[in-house]
């Protein structure tokens, strides 16, 4: 069985824990009351006003004028995240963190030591509450996809176990949006065909999904049947780091696409540096309006974690692949692979000045991000 453990309103809960006077009040982390920036996290009280992550702060303020806005303390959240990670590792070495506040665990091998996966899930949830004073939601299921849906449904303070024989019954009544990768527009496409629930979707021929979503439709079909054979990959075995974004509206403006690549690359490079890794290969994923998806990659002679190095390749890949006109783009993804651990990186005696400058920029922006959050500083322009 796979466990998906997700901290409830993580950033906001850490703030509430550390500042008891905030308890019971609507708390928003990120953005400011003047309406600048976006909401990084909101506690459940704030959510009851309709405030959601990634919402502009101005809108959040309109919804709840008395909300308390706090600047993110990413370094502090990262430290708490590490403490939680250590608790996971007491139960199983197979821990795959997805972000600071959620992780997949495969505890199959530890059942003789700690009891079955359900017992392990309970122990972890209790240990986090007792030692870290935070609340986690736990989903337990035969695979990653179902485990994640289970922890999401249980929130907050959830604990949901889906036994193998109950998977289909569990998924069937859920709306198709619960499927990984179905967003607003995917939802609309399916709604037009009269498909609203996972049950309805799985009644339809597989071919239909292929027609709507291309190869990716196959994956959706498998999810709808509760099938997902992706293994839990521990942090130290990570083979690639990626990030993707689906646009609200399909894009064909090269400048806009380029600016999205800049944002994606910044995030990927930052994760790379945080894990003390360097990458040899840069990959780009483009999904066109007709759901046709292409991936292209390019390898470097030397592994790097410098944003600028990765960015110039990603932008080259984008430009080369947009030459042949394929219509507007609905999704862009950026990935790095062939990762080299930092520990075997031999220092260089002679660093050329432009290289040194780029590394200096990365160090400085990482510092700012760790203090004020991901959105605190960004690259301007096309970046190439």
């Amino acid at each position: 069985m796979i466990l998906h453990i997700d901290m409830d309103a993580f950033y906001a809960s850490v703030e509430e824990r550390d500042q008891p006077e905030l308890r019971g009040k609507p708390v928003i982390v990120g953005g400011n009351p003047k309406g600048r920036g976006v909401v990084a996290a909101a506690n459940y009280k704030a959510r009851s006003y309709g405030i959601r992550s990634a919402m502009p702060a101005s809108q959040a303020r309109r919804l709840c004028p008395e909300a308390i806005f706090l600047a993110p303390r990413i370094a502090c959240y990262a430290e708490v995240s590490e403490q939680i990670h250590q608790i996971f590792l007491n139960y199983t070495p197979l821990v795959e963190p997805l972000s600071l506040d959620e992780a997949f665990l495969d505890a199959t091998g530890s059942e003789k030591l700690f009891g079955d996966s359900e017992a392990i899930g309970r122990q972890i949830k209790e240990e986090i509450k007792a030692k870290i004073h935070l609340c986690a939601s736990v989903g337990i299921a035969p695979n990653k996809f179902v485990a994640k849906v289970a922890s999401d449904l249980g929130k907050p303070d959830g604990f949901l176990v889906v036994q193998p024989e109950a998977v289909q019954a569990f998924l069937d009544p859920l709306p198709v949006r619960r499927l990984w990768g179905i967003g607003k527009s995917g939802d609309q496409i399916l709604a037009k065909k009269g498909i609203r629930t996972i049950h309805q979707l799985r009644q339809r021929p597989r071919r239909l999904l292929r027609e709507c979503f291309g190869l990716w439709g196959e994956q959706l079909w498998a999810f709808a049947h509760g099938r997902d054979d992706r293994p839990v990959i521990p942090d130290h075995e990570v083979k690639s780091i990626s990030n993707e974004t689906t646009f609200e509206k399909d894009l064909d403006d090269i400048d806009l696409l380029q600016s999205h690549i800049v944002t994606l690359t910044e995030q990927v490079a930052w994760r790379l540096r945080r894990q003390d890794l360097r990458a040899r290969t840069v990959g780009l994923k483009i999904r066109f309006a007709d759901f046709k998806t292409i991936t292209r990659s390019h390898s470097l002679p030397k592994a790097t974690h410098t944003t600028q190095d990765l960015l110039s390749i990603a932008i080259d890949l984008l430009k080369t692949n947009l030459k042949k006109k394929q219509g507007p783009i609905r999704l862009l993804g950026m990935a790095v692979s062939h990762l080299v651990p930092g520990e075997i990186i031999q220092g260089e005696l002679f660093i050329n000045e432009s290289q040194q400058k780029q590394q200096g920029i990365d160090v400085a922006t990482d510092l700012i991000k760790s203090k004020y959050g991901q959105s605190a500083i960004k690259r301007g322009g096309g970046g190439a």
């Binding site: 003390d276 930092g342 520990e343 075997i344 990186i345 031999q346 220092g347 260089e348 005696l349 002679f350």
Partner: protein, 373 residues
């Protein structure tokens, strides 16, 4: 040409020049040795067009002349001969007849006039240097030079000749592969001019010079001259010429750290032994060893996900706040091997900055970049 030469001298002649003979057959004549008679000796010459070596050996010259012969075949033949005189004679159409005892060989040669000649030597700077000193300077720098480095220039050594005092000069050898740097200095007499900017000499030439220095047993000092794009080494009957590498050597002075105030001293043999032992379990290729500095001790450790771990602690005199860093064990061992004293001092600033190892009295300095652990 017809000569009689002792097998021992013939073998010595072949071996003297063998190192530069081209192994690849791209230009057949470069796989040959050129032999030339002179008074009562014969000269052996081989070149790969970058480095050329010439040595003279005693021989009885019956008929003056010259031949070129495949270095490999000649070596294979002579190696199997018994002690005693060997006769070498040119035949028509560049054939060569080699006889010793009751053996007789007839092998093909090439026209000697087609053999590349020793480049004209018009030196600008000329110095005399003590053979033992020069060999030691090379020994203590060569290890740091690049091995097939992508940046071609790093496969050479930088040699600078500066004015030291009224009558003497200072020779400085600098080698770096981009990860570590070694510098040695020594006094030389009588430079007629200086070359402060320095010349870059291919590693292969330096290796041959080192070999010639260590094998030489002639009176007096070797002479080094620097000419137009050429370095010439002469000692006794040996002449080595080398083309210089063109380009800019990295600014090595900028790579020498200043203000490394954390001085850690230990028995050199302790550190060497521990590095050798612990690196047995280091990941291959990198020889990465974790280096933890604490008050009074250094803990070396290595781990290899497929093999296991090793750890060793050594005593070191150090007070203050330590740190954890990592090194390629090979780099530390190479630098330590250049230290003559029993005590070694490593100078640090912080975990991710370069380590300095030096022996001022011996004119040696080395900089090693750490590895991130």
């Amino acid at each position: 040409m017809k000569i009689k030469i002792d097998r021992k001298d013939l073998l010595a002649g072949i071996q003297r020049v063998h190192g530069v003979v081209e192994k690849k057959n791209t230009m057949p004549i470069l796989t040959h040795i050129l032999m030339n008679t002179q008074d009562q000796s014969v000269s052996f010459f081989a070149t790969d067009l970058e480095v050329g070596i010439q040595g003279h050996f005693p021989a009885e010259v019956i008929e003056a002349g010259s031949i070129t012969v495949s270095a490999r075949k000649l070596h294979e033949i002579v190696r199997e001969f018994q002690e005693g005189p060997v006769s070498i004679q040119s035949d028509t159409n560049y054939w060569i007849v080699i006889e010793s005892g009751k053996s007789r060989f007839r092998i093909v040669g090439l026209p000697p006039e087609e053999f590349p000649v020793v480049p004209p030597i018009n030196s600008e700077t000329s110095i005399e240097i003590n053979a033992t000193l020069f060999s030691s300077l090379i020994r203590r720098t060569l290890f740091a030079a690049g091995e097939n480095a992508a940046q071609y220039i790093l496969n050479g050594l930088l040699i600078q000749i500066e004015k030291n005092s009224e009558r003497n000069g200072l020779i400085r050898l600098i080698a770096t592969d981009g990860h570590r740097l070694a510098i040695t200095e020594g006094e030389v007499s009588g430079p007629n001019s200086f070359n402060e900017e320095g010349i870059i000499v291919p590693k292969k030439a330096i290796l041959e010079i080192k070999k010639a220095l260590d094998e030489g047993d002639v009176e007096g000092n070797p002479n080094l001259s620097i000419g137009d794009n050429l370095l010439v080494y002469r000692w006794g009957s040996v002449l080595i010429t080398s083309r210089l590498v063109e380009g800019d050597f990295p600014n090595y002075q900028k790579a020498i750290p200043v203000g490394n105030d954390k001085h850690v001293s230990m028995q050199k043999s302790d550190l060497e032994g521990a590095l050798r032992r612990v690196s047995v379990l280091a990941r291959e290729k990198t020889s990465a060893v974790k280096f933890s500095l604490e008050a009074g001790r250094i803990i070396l450790s290595a781990s290899n996900p497929e093999m296991g771990e090793a750890q060793e602690e050594i005593e070191a005199s150090f007070e203050g706040e330590g740190f954890v860093t990592g090194f390629n064990a090979r780099y530390l061992l190479d630098a330590l091997s250049a230290i003559t004293k029993e005590e070694a001092v490593l100078e640090f600033k912080q975990a991710d900055s370069p380590c300095l190892i030096k022996e001022k009295s011996e004119g040696f300095l080395s900089v090693i970049m750490p590895m991130r652990v």
